[in-house]
Amino acid sequence: TVGAVALDKNGNLAAGTSTGGMTNKKYGRAGDVPVIGAGTYANNNTCAVSCTGWGEYFIRLGVAKDISDLVDYKGMTLKDAADKVIYEKVEQLGGDGGLIAIDKNGNFAMPFNTAGMFRGYIFEDGRPIVKMYKD
């Protein structure tokens, strides 16, 4: 799965996710990626989110929208909301994976509960940062 979230100069947020699914999947199984609010969500008033991981858990929890709602209704910071959903809600249910998120102020989060996650970010200074492992 791959994904991106962005904030442009006009303050508009966007999120996108694309995937080849799961090796050996059967029965026309669909994961969270095409389910808006589960694997992908964007709202200019809160944040943009793209997820990766065991899709069934992300669907059941509505992960991407849940993070936006925690920011919106509970006033949580993006990082706190993203951490809560990945490290508490997804993990307690037995799911694994991660997400990337950016908010309307340019704050971002990249939590995951797997061994690694290919990820990176770039902001106004034009310096790309790429990471793969837990460090």
Binding site: T1, V2, G3, A4, V5, A6, L7, D8, K9, N10, N12, L13, A14, A15, G16, T17, S18, T19, G20, G21, M22, T23, N24, K25, K26, G28, R29, A30, G31, V33, P34, I36, G39, T40, N43, A48, T52, G53, G55, E56, L99, I100, I102, N105, G106, F108, T114, A115, G116, M117, F118, R119, G120, Y121, F123, G126, P128, V130, M132, Y133
Partner: protein
């Protein structure tokens, strides 16, 4: 004015001691390429939607990632692709699933968002919509990679072995496919 971009290329069993340095370098190079391409759009005043689509196109075109060219195989030996995109300004959204002939699913998801009255199209209908809007279908061979095919063969073999064991020990099987 703040602007920026965050990307991912999937989460899983990615461990430093098991990653060959040359493969690690390939991932790093491709992720950097994607970030810089998205950055250029944003720094030039382009939209977040354009940046997101461009970045994902680059990752879809790379066999390194499980999307587009690098998609994994389903049980039937076919690559099935899904994608979605959302505009935070308008709350418009587009999604596609079970595609088998679309090179860049994220672009089709955006097309669904912008050129249809629907949010979510699947399978043959989604591809019919793509053709009607000028998207060229690709042969399924485009998505073939040795590594993904071999991964499916390993999974099938493991499944066969697991099935023969679970006749006696049903609890041994913990594979889930949705």
């Amino acid at each position: 004015v703040k602007y920026g971009l965050v990307i991912h290329g999937g989460a899983g069993t990615i461990e430093k001691d098991k990653m060959p340095p040359e493969i690690e370098a390939q991932y790093e190079e491709k992720l950097n390429e994607a970030l810089l391409a998205g950055y250029k759009i944003l720094s030039d005043g382009g939209s977040s939607l354009d940046a997101v689509e461009k970045v994902i196109n680059i990752l879809e075109d790379s066999p390194l990632f499980n999307a587009g060219k690098g998609a994994v195989f389903a049980h039937n030996g076919i690559n099935e692709l899904d994608a979605s995109i959302m505009d935070g300004n308008t709350h418009n959204a587009g999604a596609v699933a079970r595609l088998t002939h679309i090179k860049n699913p994220i672009s089709l998801a955006r097309m669904v968002m912008e050129k249809s009255e629907h949010v979510f199209l699947i399978g043959d209908g989604a591809e019919q919509f793509a053709v009607q809007n000028g998207v060229e279908l690709v042969d399924q061979n485009y998505f073939y990679t040795d590594s993904r095919w071999n991964a499916l063969q390993r999974a099938l073999k493991k499944e066969m072995e697991s099935k023969s064991q679970t006749v006696l020990y049903p609890a041994l099987s913990d594979e889930k496919y949705g």
